[in-house]
């Protein structure tokens, strides 16, 4: 795997070369994502107030100087909770994205390159998953086994892998017929070497761009589960959970619900736009020369 890293370095270089023409929308999205990453890393340390502290004298305060986004039904500062809530909103999708990318890439390469029984099984599985409403499966399983945040993350990962696999498989099928693969095979290279060191670098643009789209999907799905009450524990700050708690307070302090909703949308839109932009600028690399 270590030999793949220089290839990713190349990717970074070509992105920089194009950075002169970085569209402002992408720039805004990068800033938003960077902000969310900071909030994830430092969490409550960045918050102006303790996100769990209950100011019972200031229950349901509207946005103002004391509390930028007002307070919730227990008098907790919504702005601080928003910052603290980035962690569960970001880490779960990150785990889903990385896990699904690793497994989906390997399965997709294998099934696209080797074909045969593996391909048939993987593709039936993908077809099957494609038609199922993933979120509902997680709700049913959470209902039967008792939920929890990491249970939801793990289930989401399993449900996401087929989509990544399908995309990488399709791209591998295209590459596998090209002369360089035949040449590599004629040189007697092992299949593993051909798949990982020769084919994968040519798919890396697709794989990386797709990871961003996966992330956007995962953050929406996970916060949806929290919204329904199957993600994080009650009371902990989380964007999906805050949205559902805040829905009951729409008449008193709408900011409590709308701000966390806006954070979910902003992060998801940013990831989608960055993913699309990466895909376009990386996949036209060869052609523009």
């Amino acid at each position: 795997m270590s030999a793949i890293v220089p290839q990713l370095g190349d990717l970074g270089k070509s992105t920089r070369r194009r950075s002169k023409r970085l569209p402002w929308t992408v720039l805004v999205c990068l800033v938003i994502v960077a902000g969310v990453v900071l909030m994830t890393v430092f969490g409550a340390a960045l918050a102006p107030q303790d996100p769990a502290a209950q100011h019972l004298t200031e229950v349901l305060a509207p946005p103002g100087s004391g509390h930028w986004l007002g307070t919730d039904e227990l008098g907790r500062d919504v702005f601080s909770r928003l910052i603290a809530g980035a962690r569960t909103a970001f880490v779960g999708p990150l785990v889903v994205t990385i896990g699904s990318m690793l497994i989906g890439n390997l399965l997709g390469l294998w099934s696209g390159y080797k074909g045969g029984a593996v391909d048939a099984i993987v593709m039936r599985w993908v077809d099957f998953m494609w038609a199922l409403p993933g979120l509902l499966i997680i709700v049913v399983v959470a209902g039967a086994f008792g939920g929890g945040y990491w249970m939801a993350v793990a289930l989401l990962l399993v449900l996401t892998i087929p989509f990544d696999t399908r995309i990488i498989r399709g791209a591998t099928l295209e590459q596998a017929t090209l002369p360089y693969v035949e040449a590599a095979r004629a040189l007697g290279l092992s299949n593993r070497r051909i798949m990982l060191l020769h084919i994968w670098p040519n798919l890396s643009a697709t794989a990386v761009a797709n990871a961003f789209l996966t992330f956007a999907g995962a953050i929406v799905a996970l916060s949806g589960l929290s919204f329904l009450g199957f993600g994080v524990d009650p009371g902990s700050p989380d964007w999906g959970r805050m949205l559902s708690d805040g829905t009951n307070l729409l008449f008193e302090n709408p900011a409590a619900a709308l701000a966390s909703g806006a954070m979910i949308v902003a992060t998801a839109v940013s990831m989608n736009i960055i993913g699309d932009w990466l895909y376009e600028s990386l996949s036209s690399r060869g052609g523009s020369k």
């Binding site: 099957f128 409403p133 008792g146 329904l228 949205l243 559902s244 729409l250 909703g261 839109v269």
Partner: protein
């Protein structure tokens, strides 16, 4: 010969989906046993456990029979729409579902029509005006619509139209058909926004491909107006693949309906699913899971058959290009 090949293709599709449904139903039934706690405990819920109630439940759910026999009995009852009693309310699951089904059906129906009414024209417009400001505007709004989760959009609509403007009720499903429609308008719109993105994206991609075909260029070269070519020639072929998107659309509608019903406190099937999952009401959970699975398998089958009817190449067993 040809009709026979078609018939065998149809039968094989039906068998595949029926087989999948049986497999899923088996997994759903097994939930009773693979979940933590024993079957009696799962069926009891929060009620007190006494030898008498245990004996009653064992007899009612045939728990003393072998596993496969139990599954068979459960499946036979399920086909007759009998899913046992809720472990929370102790009332028949079927009654609860029947009471809630109309709300969900109206919601899904209105949302579906809205999705198509918003999605297809926008997709066609974007393809016709490809790479112009119109196209870019539509694509940008699709990205936003796509990345706006149903529940966020629902809360935002609820705030603007329910709380700020007060045009629509903020919760419940209403009584009587007109009142129901009024109550379900906002939920249906929030549901449609998400699905419409999928339709726009797909319609646009397909139409751009179709407009690139030789027969379209030829028709234009013969001097037909672009409107005529677009509506009579390209549209016909372009809309066929939109059928295939109907299955993922249904999946997104079903998922979205759950989120929307919870947001707007609509007493529908989705709301019931979330409630039964939260209270670990296994019989209700199993019933809804099986219903949704059946719905999706039937929709898959319908999409496959429609696709075969629309595209003769598949019907005659030749691969499409």
């Amino acid at each position: 010969m040809r009709t026979r090949a078609t018939a065998s293709l149809v039968v094989s599709r039906i068998l595949v989906y029926a087989g999948m449904l049986v497999l899923i139903s088996f997994v759903i039934f097994s939930l009773l046993y693979i979940t933590p706690g024993d079957a009696v405990g799962n069926l009891l819920g929060t009620r007190r456990r006494t030898p008498e109630t245990e004996e009653l439940l064992r007899r009612q759910y045939h728990l003393n029979e072998p596993f496969l026999t139990q599954y068979w009995i459960w499946l036979k009852d399920a086909v007759r729409f009998d899913f046992g009693n809720s472990s929370v309310s102790t009332l028949p699951v079927t009654d609860e579902i029947n009471a809630r089904l109309p709300n969900s059906l109206i919601l899904a129906g209105v949302a579906y029509v809205l999705t198509m009414l918003i999605g297809i024209p926008l997709g066609l417009a974007a393809a016709a005006k490809k790479s112009t400001a119109v196209d870019r505007g539509i694509v940008a709004s699709v990205i936003v619509g796509f990345s706006t989760p149903v529940f966020v959009g629902a809360v935002a609509l609820l705030y603007v139209f329910g709380v700020l403007l007060g045009w629509f009720p903020v919760f419940g499903a209403g009584t009587g058909f007109v009142d129901k429609l009024w109550h379900l308008t906002l939920p249906a719109i929030s549901l449609a926004i998400a699905g419409a993105g999928l339709i726009v994206k797909h319609t646009r991609a397909v139409m751009i491909k179709v407009l690139d075909q030789d027969y379209v260029t030829f028709a234009r070269a013969r001097g037909l107006t672009s409107r005529r070519v677009y509506l009579l020639y390209a549209l016909r072929n372009g809309l066929i693949p939109v059928i295939t998107v109907s299955v993922p659309l249904l999946a997104s509608l079903v998922t979205g309906a759950v989120l929307v019903e919870v947001t707007f406190s609509i007493p529908g099937i989705g709301d019931l699913l979330v409630r039964s999952a939260a209270s670990q009401d296994l019989p209700t959970l199993q019933a809804i899971a099986l219903l949704v699975a059946a719905l999706i398998m039937v929709a898959n089958l319908a999409a496959d058959l429609l696709y075969m009817a629309a595209d003769p190449r598949i019907r005659h067993g030749r691969s499409t290009t």
